[in-house]
């Protein structure tokens, strides 16, 4: 079903940001009716490539053709008008506007020159129902979870007849069912002859959905070809340039005494009576569908949100409600789910971000201890094999995955007794993923108690000693490592038989 001529072809593209050479002589061809997987490590240059196709960045060199015609996109508008729809890696929404207006901004249906709000809401409502998501088109986007925001992004891209659909890690925040729905829509688009570019760090998805692969490393093109010619190992070797250690290096540990004890934790309208314990050296997985309220539980435990009921104890000593400082001194750490808003101070240096959580300790007398600051930062960033130019660069210049590593470094630096990680490997490549998992496993082995919230089921299954499952703000069940499978977890999470072929 592959057409002879590519709809979109990019040849010998290069792009540099100051000293950083993000892309070097990369070529890519997208054919109608075909899904094309773009795979590469964090920082390989995938998003940069996308942004060039989107008209966000201008390539320093190279040539771009649509239907064989040479084109240059100066603005995103031009790319859009050429029929290219984009789902960016980071949600780019208007928090103050309604879902409907976010989807159709600039293209609102008109009646007599004026915006026809009913038509607008109806149109978007239809798209959302297509995706099987009952989001209210008239509600403001502010307050939507990452996942729901990602859904709106997808709706935006689907809202006009795109001939090329480019998706930069659309599934990073989604669970099986939503992913499955997205793919169903993608298939229908392909059937209509559209070309699809799909970026993901979940190789299973790539193999399941894509007909053609392109692999990048360090901003350079490595290889392209039909899916059939690739195996997981070949892909990984191409991406990482070496063989990756085992992805889930879980070490067997005998749990010690209780470190974290949560009793009847309640936050009105968000979650109710959540109780569980975590022991020394244990990794407890917190599974559930997006929106189940896992992040909220984490936030309440860490004191970001005040709790309406219940109590939290660390090593037997209770922690006051709504005090992050108290939670930290008690030895709790939280790696939040939204790295840009909650995890990082974007235009502060890597070094300073990595040491932000231990700022008070970094003093000699009353003054800053710069040496200690640099030491800590470099220790942890190198432990996590951070790919960065200099430690004094602002984190904003790092790729998504590398930014996530900085957040991890920040919390590992506090040497916590309990570490809550919310989507710790969202948008993190296989290589880095393995390192993150290894680090967590090692720390657990050294006696750290870990709570792992993740929408990536294999990750939870692979790493957790016990798995707690949440549904609609309630703890609905607990599974031991042995009898936890995708099916059993999904069953609890949904309260029904898991949808067929759910990946995640």
């Amino acid at each position: 079903m592959t057409d002879a001529a590519p709809i979109l072809a990019l040849h010998h593209a290069s792009k540099a940001f100051g000293p950083v050479q993000a892309l070097v002589d990369v070529s890519l061809e997208l054919f109608g009716g075909e899904a094309h997987a773009l795979l590469g490590e964090n920082g390989a240059g995938k998003s940069t490539l996308v942004k060039i196709l989107a008209g966000v960045h201008r390539a320093d060199g190279g040539d771009l053709r649509v239907d064989g015609q040479p084109r240059t996109f100066h603005t995103p508008a031009e790319a859009r008008d050429a029929g290219i729809a984009i789902i960016y890696q980071e949600p780019t929404l208007f928090p103050d506007l309604t879902v409907a207006e976010n989807v159709l901004m600039g293209r609102q249906p008109l009646k007599g020159g004026r915006i026809d709000r009913h038509a607008m809401d109806a149109q978007v409502g239809a798209i959302l129902t297509d995706l099987g998501v009952p989001l209210d088109p008239t509600r403001p986007v502010r307050g939507l979870s990452i996942a729901d925001q990602q859904i709106v992004e997808i709706a935006k891209a689907l809202s006009f007849q795109a001939r090329v659909l480019i998706m930069d890690e659309p599934t990073a925040a989604l669970t099986g069912q939503e992913t499955e729905r997205l793919f169903r829509v993608v298939r229908t688009l392909r059937a209509r002859g559209a070309a699809v570019l799909f970026i993901t760090h979940r190789l299973e998805e790539a193999f399941a959905e894509c007909q053609r692969f392109t692999i990048m490393r360090d901003g350079q093109w490595v290889s392209s070809g039909p899916t059939g010619t690739y195996t997981i190992d070949r892909v990984v070797r191409g991406m990482v340039g070496r063989d990756v250690s085992e992805l889930y290096p879980k070490q067997a540990v005998t749990p010690g005494d209780v470190v974290l004890d949560v009793r009847n934790l309640t936050r009105r309208g968000v979650f109710r009576n959540v109780s569980f314990q975590v022991r020394r050296g244990e990794i407890v997985g917190l599974a559930g569908l997006v929106g189940a309220g896992r992040s909220e539980v984490a936030r309440a435990i860490f004191g970001i949100d005040p709790r309406d009921g219940g109590d939290v104890q660390v090593r037997g000593q209770p922690i006051p409600s709504g005090s992050t400082a108290a939670a930290m001194t008690a030895g709790i750490g939280l790696v939040p789910e939204d790295r840009r808003q909650q995890g990082l101070v974007m235009d502060m240096s890597i070094e300073r971000n990595a040491t932000l959580a231990i700022l008070p300790q970094l003093r000699r007398g009353l003054l800053m201890d710069r040496a200690a600051e640099y030491q800590t930062a470099s220790t942890w960033t190198s432990k996590l094999r951070l790919k960065a130019h200099r430690l004094t660069d602002p984190v904003s210049t790092l790729s998504g995955g590398n930014q996530q590593k900085v957040v991890l470094a920040k919390w590992l630096a506090t040497g916590p007794a309990v570490l809550i990680v919310d989507e710790p490997t969202r948008g993190v490549d296989v290589g880095a993923k393995a390192e993150v998992h290894r680090t967590l496993a090692e720390l657990a082995a050294e006696g750290l108690a870990v709570v792992m919230i993740s929408s990536d089921l294999p990750e939870v299954l692979g790493m957790a000693d016990r798995i707690l499952v949440m549904r609609e703000g309630e703890l609905v069940g607990e599974l031991s490592r042995t009898d936890a499978t995708e099916e059993t977890v999904m069953y609890l999470a949904t309260g029904q038989q898991a949808a067929r072929g759910s990946v995640a």
């Binding site: 010998h12 290069s14 540099a16 002589d25 201008r58 390539a59 320093d60 060199g61 190279g62 970001i304 992050t324 400082a325 939670a327 930290m328 939280l334 939040p336 840009r340 808003q341 909650q342 995890g343 990082l344 101070v345 974007m346 235009d347 502060m348 300073r352 932000l356 959580a357 700022l359 008070p360 970094l362 003093r363 009353l366 003054l367 800053m368 920040k410």
Partner: protein, 333 residues
Amino acid sequence: MSVPNRPKRSLLGWEATILALVALALLLGSTLSDAFLTAANLSNLSSNLVEIALIALTMTLIVIAAEIDLSVASIAGMCSALLGVLWAAHVPMPLAIVLTLGLGTLAGFFNGWLVTRLGLPSLAVTIGTLALYRGLAYALLGDRAVADFPPFWTNLGFGLVPGTQIPIPIVAFVLLAALTAVVLHATPFGRSLYAIGSNEVAARFAGLRVERTKLLLFTLSGLMSAFAAVVYTFRFSSARADNANGLELSVIAAVLLGGVSIFGGRGSVIGVIAAVFLIGIIQNALTLADVPNEILTIVTGLLLILSVLGPNLSAQLKAAYGRRGRAAKGGAQ
């Protein structure tokens, strides 16, 4: 929140620039009038800046933490009025001063409370208290003016360090400036201000005590304004409800000119001090050269704009040039 149009400029670069500008201004002054580079003139010049300079110190901290305090001048006016009322009521001066500083601290705390507890935007809050505190100043002192302050105290505001041409208040300023610089640039607390300023949410998730910090900043700002009010009152040996009226804009202008980003997260004490004196020197020099007042106003405005526009444009030009360079390379391959 990632803010658009955040001016990207290397601070060091900017401080160098503004210090150079100060030197330039001194040169200009001495060429414009031989009366300029006299100890007496410089001494007058600086003593006229002292209130602005003092308040600018705390304003710097607040703006770096991405807040703003427009009520400083009104707090000063209110405190000056109180000092007058107390003195007129024969309260012993030391006590009167303590009470005045207390009132300022209270006023600042109230600002902070409204901002941190009610979560109101500081711009809105301090526009409100700007009216409130100035109003209270009139409520306190009405149309009266208290002037008969004892020479010992007025001399503290007006006089010079014996045997020098250094105004006494300037000494206080230098000490406070040094203190502020150390706190901001060399302590974890100072570091945390930058973090809070550029991403409050992330700062909170990192366990920094955002509310407490901001509350402290506004309270300090109030205390500093009160101190400035005491200096002002003694320097002019006159307590009136309209004292220090409109000072807030001069302070903010100086802070911004000093390279502090209005969006928070950027700025330094040196830059701000340099800016305060840059404005003062230029105005003094031009006045000595009988440049009419309206020109002074225009110059102040232009300085402010150019301080940001200059670095931005040069950066944009560099970027544009670089792109063309690379594009050429790219095309070649």
